[in-house]
């Protein structure tokens, strides 16, 4: 499988009245063709900002301060806005969290769906129309001819998210970024949308980056998982590795806070404390104030990424040789 996206040591910061605050602190990851990478973490851990950095849609006060983003071998951080625009909606597409507000209320579905085609492809109106109808069919929208003339408020949330997926797929992108695409939808619709993205990934051979805080979504769609905490990647691995043998205490905490319907005795654990503020200086590992396994070393020095297996890495001193035996008494049940 070809490597599609390679992000190295990405630092994204925000200019605020209190100075420059890093929201993403040296994140590295890669995505291959036909692969789904899930970025998991609490709200505010920097997962959305990471993806917005990739597609170049950071808010006005945000900027990539360091690091490199290579897409199909080309460096994106040095590209001009005009060149990035040619990639957006064409080679890299993105779907967002809120289908209810992500479509422009005053334009028809047809107009909004044809817009990426108009922008990136030379097509006649007739070709665009038939392509739009195909796209709507592809994402499972009934009666596509009629939908083209309708306005967003005439569609349900699930249908709107399908339209947004159709818009994202219009130019056959090689990379699809989905930022919590199912958060605002109810559970049955959620499953349909996830299946749809998964099917389309297989059919079109796209790479998918899915941002989520829902471990259920991860289990369903991910090939590989990247866990983020306070702007850092704390653990990466295949979906099996993350679920069956998580190494980082934060990953374990995340998994322990998911209810288990098969095990009625399962005790739901919450990770104590809350995510540090962007401007909070924490010495050593940024998770140590909340970590049940924190040692002296964790306060002194920020841990590097330790290799656990071929694909699994954990940014935790517990993985350092010699102290990998975990103190059982304080572990999550």
């Amino acid at each position: 499988m070809e490597q599609l996206l390679q992000v190295n040591d990405l630092i994204t910061s925000f200019r605020t009245t209190g100075g420059k605050l890093p929201a993403v602190r040296g994140v590295s990851f890669s995505v291959n063709e036909g692969e789904t990478l899930c970025i998991v973490g609490e709200s505010g851990c920097g997962k959305s900002i990471t993806t917005l950095s990739v597609i170049g849609l950071l808010p006005n006060n945000g900027e990539i301060s360091e690091g490199s983003i290579k897409f199909q071998g080309e460096e994106l951080t040095t590209k001009k806005e005009k060149e990035l625009r040619k990639l957006r909606g064409n080679d890299i597409s993105m779907i967002f969290q809120e289908p209810m507000t992500a479509l422009n209320p005053v334009f028809t579905i047809g107009y909004q769906l044809m817009e990426p085609l108009k922008t990136h492809r030379r097509m006649s109106n007739k070709e665009m129309r038939s392509k739009s109808i195909d796209l709507l069919k592809q994402v499972g929208i009934p009666d596509p001819e009629k939908k083209l003339k309708q306005f967003p408020h005439e569609l349900s949330g699930g249908m709107r998210q399908r339209v947004l997926i159709a818009i994202a797929l219009a130019c056959n992108p090689s990379l699809l970024i989905a930022d919590e695409p199912t958060t605002a939808l109810d559970v049955t619709i959620q499953a349909q949308i996830l299946d749809l993205i998964d099917d389309l990934k297989t059919d079109l051979g796209m790479g998918v980056v899915m941002v989520t805080h829902d471990m259920g979504v991860v289990a369903e769609v991910a090939d590989r998982v990247m866990v983020m905490y306070a702007g850092n990647v704390v653990e990466t691995g295949t979906v099996d590795e993350i679920f069956s043998s998580p190494k980082h205490p934060y990953t374990k905490g995340l998994l322990a806070s998911v209810p288990n319907v098969d095990d009625t005795d399962h005790k739901l654990e919450a990770i104590p404390g809350s995510l540090p503020n962007l401007n909070e200086t924490i010495h050593g590992c940024r998770f140590h104030p909340r970590c049940p396994f924190a040692m002296e070393k964790c306060v002194e020095k920020d841990p590097p990424q330790f290799k656990v297996s071929q694909q699994q890495y954990s940014k935790c001193w517990l993985q350092e040789e010699g102290i990998s035996s975990e103190p059982k008494d304080r572990a999550y049940s």
Partner: protein
């Protein structure tokens, strides 16, 4: 849509009854007798009572009111006390100038206000934004009569570029446009400022919307994002302000007409009030009220075209 229009006209009718009653009563309660003004200082008491008899002013006020309303319902706005001209006719000859001035001012207000507000929003906190919001504040605060006088002083007296007053030439001639420029700026400035402020805040809200990010994620050019995706949404509240302002402009030409010696409805009204010319005051006030309601109805209809979520079916 037809239901909406019918409902509005019913409301208009009630409104006009209320307004006419208030105006009628306040005119009669206010000091000053039309008969003494018409008769002049030399008129004897018997002259005055003859005048009152002729104008129907000796009848009880309520009877006078009902007679007036009865006339209006039959399309008769009555006759001016001063020159025996029909009120409808007097308004008809003056109204085109007022409409000309109001539309001219509205054009000035929209042409300046909308782009200024939008550019301010796109370049928030830039020097353009700061100066445009400051000028807008000044524009709202400056009184019409002062601005008008200053414009005349600079552009008519000093530079002699534009005429001092009058609006008699038709607006499609060069002379007509020249006559219109200063009064339109005088009257339109406050509206321009209000429209600019509204456009700015509406645009600021819209450019942070999720659908703007969606448009950017499609790779659409920034100009298209702003002037197509954002503008149409931002215009929805701005249209309300434009409509309201147009209503105000139609009724608010009095001072500007006075400053620029324009023979419009505003001056007709002021002269009539001074002369206690009751029927003319009534007629002009009813006209302004009707126009206000009609303009707002038009705004509501325009809404349905701009915003597909609004339907009057």
């Amino acid at each position: 849509m037809i239901g909406l229009i019918a409902k509005r006209f019913l409301q208009l009718l009630l409104l006009l009854v209320g307004i006419s009653f208030l105006v009628f009563m306040s005119m009669h309660l206010a000091p000053g007798d039309p008969a003494t003004i018409i008769g002049g200082p030399t008129a004897t008491e018997s002259d005055l009572s003859a005048i009152r008899e002729e104008l129907g002013l000796n009848k009880p006020v309520l009877i006078q009111y009902f007679e007036y309303v009865g006339g209006v319902l039959q399309g008769d706005l009555g006759y001016s006390f001063q020159n025996n001209q029909g009120v409808a006719e007097a308004i008809a000859t003056r109204f085109p100038q007022t409409l000309n001035l109001a539309i001219g001012s509205m054009i000035v207000a929209v042409i300046i206000g909308v782009p200024a507000g939008i550019i301010s929003a796109i370049k928030q906190n830039s020097w353009f934004d700061f100066s445009s919001t400051t000028i807008a504040l000044a524009g709202i605060s400056i009184p019409n009569f002062w601005l008008g006088a200053m414009l005349i002083l600079v552009f008519s007296v000093q530079l002699q570029w534009l005429p001092v007053g009058g609006l008699s030439a038709p607006f499609w001639t060069i002379e007509g446009i020249k006559q219109l420029i200063l009064p339109a700026i005088t009257l339109g400035t406050a509206s321009a400022a209000m429209i600019a402020r509204m456009s700015r805040s509406a645009m600021l809200e819209v450019i942070r919307a999720d659908y703007i990010r969606t448009a950017r994620a499609k790779g659409v050019h920034n100009n298209t994002v702003i002037w197509i995706h954002a503008l149409r949404n931002a215009m929805i509240p701005v249209i309300t302000v434009i409509g309201l302002n147009f209503g105000f402009l139609l009724g608010g030409t009095i001072i500007t007409e006075q400053v620029f010696a324009i023979n419009g409805v505003g001056r007709l009204m002021i002269d009539a009030i001074a002369a206690r010319d009751f029927p003319v005051v009534q007629g002009t006030v009813l006209l302004v009220a009707t126009l206000f309601v009609v303009v707002n109805l038009v705004v509501d209809i325009v809404y349905a075209f701009v915003d597909p979520r609004i339907s009057y079916e």
